[in-house]
């Protein structure tokens, strides 16, 4: 009976139980509901499925550790996306530092795939595109990548992304436009300057809505 009632509670109600009563069952429900999306977010942000899984676990651990900080007025998912994204940013910064301090200073495997240099073992056309997309996304700055991932893969509305990132909705849309443009450029292999000049005036009109 208790389990049934737990399955029907909202995320916010479950989180409230976690916060007030340290309810492990309620927390298990939240993990069950959100583990997949959070793993996907981390994997897409880092371009690494294993590290994505680790970070997703870390995100839930952090959520439990910081359960008292959760404000029941806000959506639980907003809180969760934010915690997971911040962990991704930290991880990316750590990678940058490692890369800077490394004597070899070689790019890791996922970053070596550019629009026109594909790994030799990728043969299927679809896999090839997927790999190109992953490589291209990893080359886009975090601010654009997070918007692209949240909107395109996690299917959040622009309004929700604005809440997660705590920025205006207009900024989210302009980042999305810029991110998509950069991605298109990387995927097509066009020079950066060409796309920028071409899009400057056009994008303003399309960004209004």
């Amino acid at each position: 009976m208790k389990l049934f009632s737990l399955f029907s509670v909202s995320d916010e109600q479950a989180m409230w139980r976690v916060q007030m009563q340290d309810d492990a069952e309620a927390f298990a429900i939240l993990v069950e509901r959100w583990e997949g999306p959070i793993q996907n977010l981390c994997t897409r942000m880092l371009g690494d499925a294993h590290r994505g899984e680790d970070l997703a676990q870390e995100a839930f651990t952090k959520i439990f550790a910081r359960r008292k900080e959760y404000e029941p007025r806000g959506k639980f998912s907003t809180f969760l996306w934010r915690v997971a994204l911040n962990l991704c940013y930290d991880e990316l910064r750590r990678r940058d530092r490692r890369r800077e301090t490394s004597l070899d200073a070689e790019l890791s495997n996922e970053d070596t795939y550019t629009a026109d240099e594909l790994p030799p073992d990728v043969s299927m056309a679809r896999e090839e595109t997927a790999e190109r997309v992953r490589g291209a996304l990893m080359r886009i700055s975090e601010a654009y990548r997070s918007v692209l991932v949240l909107r395109h893969y996690e299917d959040l509305k622009f309004r929700e992304i604005a809440d997660v990132l705590d920025i205006p909705e207009g900024t989210v849309k302009s980042r999305m436009a810029e991110g998509l443009s950069q991605l298109a450029r990387l995927l097509e292999g066009e020079p950066e300057s060409k796309i920028r000049i071409k899009n400057t005036d056009v994008r303003k009109e399309l960004l209004v809505l």
Binding site: G36, R44, T129, A130, V133, A184, E205, L206
Partner: protein, 198 residues
């Protein structure tokens, strides 16, 4: 962007579509974004295995539970009541332990407080006793002083009376001596009478 991700109201969408039909530059831009978005969708992640496994397991577990419940029926209920009893016993023991622990800690607190309050009370008592003793000492001192003063006054009065009496005695003695001298003198000048008398 809202057009691309279908977040627009139908009438707004229709308006923008009309613009795209008319404006070549915007159409090119939109096509580039759509193309990038379509390619993004090619990066698919494998479904989360743990979740899939968990779901399958859950389904099997539910099915097994239903079959098991139907088959076991009353026997399961008896077993359940046994489990409940066992659980209750365990819980009681646990509760007792917890209550005992709580009581111990409460007792420790009370003892500590009592010790603290006792020491405070003792201090207050000592202070009161000291005050009483001081008061008593002062009263005694005053009484002694009064007695001494009284004794002194008595002594002075006695001294005065004694002196007066001594003076009287001295006067009487002097008078007696004079009288004796006179009698001696009288006797000296009349030896006959002395011898007669003899």
């Amino acid at each position: 962007m809202s057009f691309l991700y279908d977040e627009l109201a139908p009438e707004t969408r229709a308006g923008l579509q009309a613009h795209l039909d008319a404006c070549c530059e915007c159409r090119v831009q939109m096509t580039a974004w759509q193309s990038a978005a379509m390619q993004m969708s090619e990066w698919k992640l494998p479904p989360k295995r743990k979740v899939a496994v968990a779901r399958t397991l859950t389904r099997w577990a539910i099915a097994a539970a239903i079959v098991g419940l139907a088959a076991l029926g009353g026997a399961r209920l008896v077993a359940l009541s046994g489990e409940v009893k066992q659980l209750r016993t365990e819980m009681r023991e646990q509760l007792l332990l917890e209550v005992r622990r709580d009581l111990d800690s409460a007792l420790a607190q009370v003892t500590e407080q009592a010790t603290k309050s006792a020491s405070t009370e003792a201090q207050a008592l000592i202070a009161a006793v000291a005050q009483k003793l001081e008061e008593k000492r002062l009263t005694d001192q005053q009484a002694t002083l009064a007695a001494l003063q009284k004794m002194n006054a008595q002594r002075v009065a006695d001294y005065a009376a004694m002196r007066k009496e001594l003076e009287t005695v001295a006067v009487f003695t002097e008078t007696g001596l004079e009288r004796a001298q006179n009698q001696i003198a009288t006797l000296a000048y009349s030896p006959a009478s002395f011898s007669d008398n003899k």
